[in-house]
Amino acid sequence: MMQSRRSGRPVAPGATAIGTRSVKENIRVHEKQAILVVEDNANDEALILGALKNHRVVVARDGAEALEYLFGAGAYQGRDPYDLPQAMILDLKMPKVDGFQVLTKVRADERTKLLPVVILTSSTDLQDVLRGYNLGANSYLRKPVDTERFVEVVGTSARTGSV
């Protein structure tokens, strides 16, 4: 069910096994344009989902899940890695694989190296800002984000392609 809702694409062989994987519970698939939100904090996730309510959103709860989604591995075995999300909104401090590691892997792979990546973090450390950009982030947003403005911009980004 989850796969077929994603984009109406045929369910890839192997992907059906996802139902038995515990990680499935942590990755939720929403309709419409896919924006990959990588966020381990439930409160922040709720805020982001609220801001992106008009978009199709996939949530990964840590860096490892994000990579599995992007590269069609693990719980997302069979997903086409070329079917890129519209953008990835990436937290930095996460369990297992952190945001910098995700970004490094994404930029090192031909299939994902052009994916627009917006870092969204509570870090106020300038070193993190610089490191993010140096690793190839397109943009860096600091929490708390002005939600009203964020919604306004992201809400229409699909039309203008500005974010």
């Binding site: 943009s139 984000v145 911009v153 203008t160």
Partner: protein, 152 residues
């Protein structure tokens, strides 16, 4: 309090230049706008050479709005030079173009553009796009350069 930083607009078409300036003004984006009319001017401004000899290249603009099709040096070449220089490597560059070529989008991101925005043909839509650009890139986005606060 720092002065508001500059927006570098790289645009050779006078109509598009006027339109962009109007759209910025209409949205109360009051940053000083420096207009470079081709890629060479843009590079000279950024690196303090040629007609901008003596300008301090560490005094970077807040963002660069970069057209692609430009005389002398096109937008891709400008972007290539910026990303190759440590001083401008992380400077936020937004490609603002009428090109809808998928190849141009891919090329632009591949060279390190932060964003790629198609110029809407309709004026109201153009104003709206500029408003969102300003909001996002001048207010929400954290700049890679330290020190300079948000333009508020």
């Amino acid at each position: 309090m720092h002065d508001k930083q500059v927006i570098l607009l790289v645009e050779d078409n006078p109509d598009d230049e006027a339109l962009t300036l109007r759209a910025l003004k209409k949205n109360n984006i009051t940053n000083t706008v420096i207009v470079a009319h081709d890629g060479v001017e843009a590079v000279e401004y950024l690196f303090g050479t040629g007609m901008y000899e003596g300008r301090d290249p560490t005094d970077l603009p807040e963002i660069v709005l970069l057209d692609l099709k430009l005389p002398r040096l096109d937008g891709f070449e400008v972007l290539t030079q910026l990303r190759a220089d440590p001083r401008t490597k992380l400077l936020p560059v937004i490609i603002l173009t009428s090109s809808k070529e998928q190849q141009d989008i891919v090329h632009g991101y591949g060279l390190g553009a932060n964003s790629y925005v198609r110029k809407p043909v309709d004026f109201d839509q153009f104003v709206e796009a500029v408003r969102q650009l300003g909001l996002y890139w001048l207010v929400l986005n954290e700049k890679p350069a330290g020190g300079a606060p948000h333009s508020s």
